[in-house]
Amino acid sequence: MKFKRKKEEIITPYTIEQCNSCNAILKRKFKEGDYVFKKTDTCSSCKGQMSIAKIFGEVSA
């Protein structure tokens, strides 16, 4: 019986930005300098303050 070699997973880091007023969510690739709860741009829909809610890694397809 031959065991299949486990494929190496490629994990891509993502940043989730959330608007503090309308809770709109923006998912983008992680940029260096990002950290959780960092205030970023203004919300494109309500002009509220966006901040980073999460940073995580997802396995690329």
Partner: protein, 373 residues
């Protein structure tokens, strides 16, 4: 030959016409295995361990190279830091004598703090223009490189000793341990990438949850690299505490808790931390329990238990399950997504165990790299 009614000659098909060469072909391997079986097994096992040892060497060398490259490109020191880093990789820590265990915790804490302070100082001497964030990242990468260096040296020592003395039993514990050692080594190697880029790691889930609860509050210093703030929640007063982010630090939760309790006397302590999952458990699973949820060498846990016992404050724990690799590498989505669930469980725990007018100390335990407050 008739033994217990079984005719062995018939069974093995021996008769006067049997080929003696075939007989030898059957018997000689048995004799070889009886006489040299252990040596053959030693050769097979040692060749497997040798492959792992070579891989461990690559991981160790790569981590060292990554650390030096990171220092050279980010910090741009005026002198080559290689010699200083190589010297640090060989540093050792002598644990205190435990024949008389009385007071050993204070001794261990003193030795570990001295080592931490010295590392911090050594890292800062690489360049005077280094900020605290970069310094904390380098300290963590250095810790990973030092652990890999030590693992490599220990495995090599056991492997070479067993080979030199042809000692098969000596190689058996190493053969059993090598998959765990390799898993940890690969996790340490992968952790370097997250440290370099300042990304939150799985262990940072506790500080991330408490950090979110701290948003909009005034943060005060509780101890070295540890912050706390106050907040109201449904008539209860909350004292929130975590390591100061987004630097790569775990802070000093023991000292901070001692200070907060001496000043504010909370009625309940809730600790949120990452915990190692058992094989078969899903990452990001949330569990509740009792006692101080904090890892490390044990000095902080001892301090927290001592103070809580002195003031008779119950300690409740909420843990987020993950593997050793997930705990020290970039936070996985499943773990990050558990934050909302844990927050609601903290609120429920507070309402169940503290009456309105009482106060609760909530501690987010773990490395707060990439997580502010």
């Amino acid at each position: 030959m008739d033994f217990l009614g079984i005719n062995v000659d018939k069974l093995l098909n021996f008769n006067d016409n049997s080929n003696p060469v075939m007989l030898l072909v059957m018997i000689v391997p048995i004799i070889i295995f009886v006489l040299y079986g252990q040596r053959i097994q030693l050769q097979v096992t040692s060749s497997e361990i040798n492959k792992s040892l070579e891989k461990l060497k690559i991981l160790k060398d790569d981590t060292r190279k990554e650390l030096l490259d990171y220092i050279k490109t980010t910090i741009k020191p005026t002198t080559d830091p290689s010699a200083k880093i190589d010297r640090y990789l060989d540093y050792f820590t002598i644990m205190p004598v435990d024949m008389d265990p009385n007071g050993i915790i204070q001794k261990i804490r003193h030795i570990m703090r001295s080592r931490e302070d010295y590392t911090r100082l050594q890292v800062k001497t690489i360049s005077s223009e280094m900020n605290s964030m970069d310094a904390s990242k380098i300290e963590n990468i250095l810790e990973a490189a030092t652990t890999l260096h030590l693992l490599y040296k220990m495995v090599r020592h056991l492997y070479l000793t067993a080979k030199k003395q042809n000692n098969f039993p000596l190689i058996l514990p190493l053969q059993m341990m090598i998959p765990f050692i390799m898993e940890e080594a690969e996790a340490l190697k992968d952790a370097v990438s997250a440290f370099k880029q300042g990304q939150p790691i799985g262990d940072g889930i506790g500080p991330m949850i408490v950090g979110k609860m701290m948003i909009g509050t005034e943060k005060k210093t509780a101890a070295f690299e540890t912050v706390w703030s106050e907040k109201e929640f449904e008539g209860r007063k909350l004292y929130l505490m975590k390591a100061e982010g987004p630097s790569a630090t775990v802070g000093r939760p023991g000292d901070a808790l001692e200070r907060i309790i001496s000043e504010n006397k909370p009625d309940v302590i809730v600790m949120v931390d990452a915990a190692l999952k058992l094989e078969g458990e899903d990452s990001g699973t949330v569990s509740q329990g009792f006692g101080a949820a904090i890892g490390g060498i044990g000095t902080d846990r001892y301090q927290i238990e001592e103070v809580a016992t002195k003031y008779k404050i119950p300690i409740y724990a909420i843990v987020i399950k993950q593997s050793i690799k997930e705990a020290i590498t970039l936070m996985k989505k499943e773990i990050a997504d558990s934050a909302e669930k844990v927050t609601s469980q903290i609120h429920e725990m507070i309402k169940d165990n503290a009456k309105p007018g009482q106060s609760v100390l909530v501690i987010g335990v773990g490395n707060t790299l990439g997580v502010s407050q």
